[in-house]
Symmetry: C2
Subunit: 196 residues, 2 copies
């Protein structure tokens, strides 16, 4: 049993139990794979392995929560109401982090930020932010045309892997006429645009 | 000599003279072509031809102005300071409209908005806004792979042409790692995303 010391009063077994309760089998297994990949990346790039593991494990904890819970959380935690114009794809990170703080007693801002930023990234990212963002994209079961290239880039550089993922995610969204959260462009402008 | 009645105290000859003074030959000729195309679209879609013509003619009036003038204008007209993080590609529309109001005595908000919105569009667009946005993309000298398709769509529907242009402009910017003004995504989410 892995204890998380001062990062939460709960341990990994409790998190696993809560994830099972909130997620279907596929999503639950994805979380385990992102935990594994986040730890691998933390070892590779010399980041805190426990924080990377927790962030990866919990990143999609809120992915299948009902809409009402997010609407309630926006009010309760005084978050930007423009969030309500988007959907679960944005909410489970941006709003989810505060729900996780409350339900799982995770008070570590490094972990919460990594969860907060894992879908739209951010112009300012810690190594843990980058690791979870990338692990979600390249975990072992991911299978899409650019994934091998993404994995290769992630062997060398977290920054380059963030840039590659942002660019390809935006291309995918636009090619498929999918809604995009405008703040994601702040991330793109920071990490992809060459003048930076 | 075309007079603009109550839309400006100046006439077209004066605008032409000022455009020649502010723009190089290529850009000046582009403005004449956008004026022509805007008028054609106004006739086709039953919009105000004079307003479309003025908006098209003046849309790039500020395209080659020095940076200092835009910085000064942001303060003077109390505009969003985040604009200063971008460049002339955004400024000549978003800030340019207020400079045009002052220097060319254009006080018509329909015209000024069309100029303001011609690079990043907007979730809310009048027919004149749409016409200038499209005319800039498909004027007779434009030559890029999608332009024939864009022209064809613009024969039928302003909305579909706006959607096509936004999608392809964003794809172009991302493919080439170019900076994107995040508010452009509000336009994309409105005009391109299928749930709308």
């Amino acid at each position: 049993m892995e204890n998380y010391d001062n990062l939460s009063s709960y341990n990994r077994d409790f998190f696993i139990e809560r994830l099972r309760k909130n997620l279907d089998e596929n999503r639950f297994n994805h979380c385990l794979r992102v935990e594994k990949k986040s730890k691998e990346l933390a070892i590779r790039f010399n980041a805190n392995i426990t924080r990377a593991g927790i962030s990866g494990l919990l990143h999609d904890y809120c992915k299948q929560m009902p809409k009402e819970k997010f609407i309630e959380a926006v009010k309760k935690f005084n978050l930007d109401e423009d969030l309500l114009n988007y959907g679960n794809g944005i909410w489970h990170g941006s709003i989810g982090a505060d729900i996780i703080r409350e339900e799982l007693d995770v008070n570590d801002e490094i972990i919460l930020n990594a969860i907060r930023k894992h879908t739209i990234a951010d112009p300012y990212m810690t190594d843990i932010d980058k690791i979870v963002f990338i692990a979600d994209f390249i975990e072992d079961a991911r299978d899409f045309p650019e994934v091998d290239m993404a994995r290769k880039i992630a062997e060398k550089s977290l920054d380059d892997a963030v840039s590659f993922e942002l660019k390809h995610t935006l291309e995918y969204l636009i090619n498929n006429n999918k809604k995009i959260y405008p703040k994601m462009l702040n991330s793109y402008n920071k990490w992809v645009v060459e003048e930076n």
